[in-house]
Symmetry: C2
Subunit: 158 residues, 2 copies
């Protein structure tokens, strides 16, 4: 149950985009961390479908944040890459066991499914409580030169 690699790429890329106004092409974003450009592009497409990024085609095109970073939670990014399903999927094996099981939805009544959903919600609550803007503030506090460094590096990679 390892999370997809694309999540880490998406998180850092969104943070970098929050320091930039003009659209940035996939190539520059990938070179920033020495990532495979085509595969990063695939992840960014998912972010576009989720409404987190907007894409512009043609020369001087690229990707840009679709919303201010205060409106992008870590959960938004994780869900965009990993999908909306919860961590634990209840296959209702109870319906194969003894006892009444006519038309019972064990995703609701199974005590284990209930407990697992509670843990899942706690995880999501933490993730939705932290935004890209929050992380950006933390980073700028520890590394005040980060925004300028990022802008300079992107400019030279364009």
């Amino acid at each position: 149950m390892r999370m997809s690699q694309g999540v880490e790429w998406a998180l850092h890329t969104c943070l970098n985009l929050s320091w930039l106004d003009a659209p940035v092409p996939t190539g520059a974003l990938a070179a920033f961390y020495e990532l495979p450009p085509a595969y990063l592009n695939k992840q960014l497409q998912a972010l576009v479908r989720a409404g987190i990024l907007t894409s512009i085609s043609g020369p001087r095109g690229g990707f840009r944040l679709a919303r201010p970073p205060e409106a992008i939670s870590l959960l938004d990014i994780v869900s965009a890459i990993e999908g909306p399903e919860e961590l634990f999927r209840c296959d209702q094996i109870l319906s194969k066991g003894p006892g009444e099981h006519a038309g019972v939805d064990y995703r609701q009544s199974c005590a284990f499914a209930h407990a697992m959903r509670g843990a899942d919600l706690a995880w999501r609550r933490e993730l939705s409580g932290k935004t890209v803007a929050d992380v950006r503030s933390d980073v700028e506090r520890g590394h005040p030169g980060a925004p300028a460094d990022t802008r300079a590096r992107i400019a030279e990679l364009r």
Copy 2:
């Protein structure tokens, strides 16, 4: 990032075993929910390695809880099947970016890794706060006949 199917099997199997004293062979536990016996056996081996179950070979052998159900948390079972790694694995792509990166452990300093770890801990805290005994109490409250039904079904599947 879907959780392994074996987790659901392990949870329900541990609950069933909490109602039984004598060892129960894989075949009976699998038939209970119409699961593939050999593959369920594989999951149970993981629970033995984690110290949650004990196994007895030979005739009249099988699996039994190694500890009282009050001492078995849902986290114990999930970790036994899925492994101890956290959900988000930080590959430290920051080390490829600009800025100083000599001997820095970005799993500690990266703000995203920090936030993801916080969410992971919230998830684990929920799971470790619920034990098999808690779930058993919930089930017995809703279905008082469950223990007897389970014992009867296992007896006829032996």
